[in-house]
Symmetry: C2
Subunit: 343 residues, 2 copies
């Protein structure tokens, strides 16, 4: 059998697509020669998906657990059928296919997968705990990593929970690092969450003394956290579904000027216009939220005649794991917040 580095061998239906687009994939835990078998410790469900699951189950843990078991049994992977999104996992290397023996990896190594659960073959034996406040599900399970599946060995100088919490959203700060230039004005929407805080931190480093980072959040607690820890020059409290009010507040915090860049880290729908309207013509709108609608963004910008570059946040960016872990090493404040809230 010819092996595919993208894992298409395991696609059951429909044929010819990649594992992520598949309705159902093969979660038989006999590995091919170019695969890696993992004993899974926990699943970090992505925020959009977990919010949806919680809503559907009306906050009932047992129902959430049952729904996760049902999804994985049906699809062979933990891909939320409503949001289409997944998350990531941590576990220990159980077996390495012989074609990948050259890698700097050994059985027993603890890793975090950096590819989405929405394409990762998974078989859950049992759910051990659901940690509602950090979107984490502890399991007895096995999973498979394809040849192209990216992962990070968990570092020695921090707990696995801390590393995982940050790696989960590693694409966002890494892309912020590559995009933000000295002197830029940057608006971060949904700044109180994990990816929002990491983006704020990275933007603050990049804009330098002539730039301006405005963070948008909902609660007083998030506002205080952002300001007290120097994660933004200014904070506005607003609601992404009220784009005009949000824009007015954001512009007021930027000397009345439109922004060079907005970064959307919001975990609710209908945030597109709030991201687009405060940005200048020729500026960049970077959508990291998985709750963003492609057509609402494309038609929304057209509807108000805004010539902005709208970028789909790629979950992967070269070096994203290193960039994100370095943030936690550099910033005692960020590390403390992460340890208090997400571990």
């Amino acid at each position: 059998m010819k092996l595919c580095k993208y894992g298409t061998n395991r696609v059951l239906e429909p044929q010819g697509v990649l594992p992520q687009a598949a309705q159902k994939i093969d979660n038989n835990m006999e590995i091919y020669d170019n695969e890696i078998l993992i004993d899974v410790i926990s699943l970090n469900i992505d925020s959009a998906s977990f919010t949806q699951l919680k809503g559907e189950a009306e906050g009932d843990e047992t129902k959430i657990g049952a729904k996760i078991m049902e999804i994985v049994a049906e699809r062979g992977k933990m891909q939320n059928p409503v949001t289409g999104s997944g998350g990531m996992l941590i576990g220990k290397i159980a077996k390495i296919g012989k074609d990948l023996a050259y890698r700097n990896l050994a059985v027993g190594d603890k890793i975090a997968t950096l590819v989405s659960l929405s394409l990762t073959p998974l078989k859950i034996e049992k759910i051990n705990a659901i940690q509602m406040n950090i979107d984490r599900v502890d399991v007895t399970a096995q999973a498979i990593l394809f040849e192209t599946g990216i992962y990070a060995k968990l570092p020695e100088d921090m707990t696995q929970e801390l590393a995982l919490a940050a790696l989960d959203v590693a694409g966002a700060p890494a892309q912020t690092a590559k995009m933000v230039k000295p002197g830029d004005s940057v608006l971060v929407l949904g700044a109180g969450g994990k990816s929002g805080m990491l983006c704020c931190y990275e933007a603050m480093r990049r804009v330098g003394p002539t730039g301006n980072v405005v963070a948008m959040c909902r609660s007083d607690a998030d506002r205080d956290k952002l300001l007290d820890n120097g994660l933004a020059h200014a904070v506005i409290q607003s609601d992404v579904t009220r784009p005009i009010e949000l824009m007015d507040k954001a512009l007021a915090a930027n000397g009345g000027h439109e922004f060079d860049i907005s970064i959307n880290c919001v975990n609710v729908p209908n945030s597109e216009m709030a991201s687009i309207m405060p940005v200048r013509d020729g500026g960049t709108v970077y959508f990291f939220s998985m709750a963003v609608s492609f057509t609402k963004a494309a038609l929304g910008a057209e509807g108000i005649g805004k010539d902005v570059n709208m970028v789909i946040g790629n979950g992967y960016s070269r070096g994203h794991a290193e960039i994100t872990l370095a943030q936690l090493r550099e910033s005692a404040e960020l590390r403390k917040i992460f340890e208090e809230r997400y571990v």
Copy 2:
């Protein structure tokens, strides 16, 4: 009264949203100082909306007319309550608000609006004809364009139908013009359609003698059309829902190398991976198709560890109408194809 460039002054309910999201907008035809009044000649109802109206009225023209009158009376705009979509209109400038007097526009100019009817204040006096085969409704009516509402003056040197056919997809070639550089290799998916052909033409001009434009289409007729009219260096025939097969063919047509840019003009779902896989790390994937899924793109690139820039095709780009109409003036071949197929 403080005037809003986005027209929110006219939102009646619910308060706080933009005109497109509003249930009802004010269609009083007294204009504000930053608005333009139009004597409407015809409405080009969008295809999804017109199909729905025809179905509901069981093809009865009188009933379609009555339904349109009812919708506009209720909402102050022609936004189909089932599909949510609108269309565009053609008319003559009746009055220009004094804040917009600086514009290169005069009373009597014939224009097409390039913003959706779903956000355009409209008052219909009477319906004169319904042209069932081209989704067009000729009316005696007035409409209002907001300060941010984009439009194009209809040119003298081509029929209104030809201009509209091209303006309908003007965002794509304009963004191609801005993105493609000399020496680039460019893959256009869905190259046989309107926007695909315009993107191919623009890419061919931009890449110059050291670049390579590969067009992907389905049919033999499209292949011949693209090659016979010099719209690409090479054509591949493939299926976007089979991304691995498509990638193999595309790379073979590019000397075995990955592409700098891919442009997605496909009108079917599940084309994301076919756009992402053939592009090099650091390259750009430009999604113009409205059938693209945000999450499939974001998670798909991550899933295969591809560090590409993924751009949401903005329906608007500065100068997009001029750029697109100029293509039809420059290329006799393109104009002939458009006149034969889309007028």
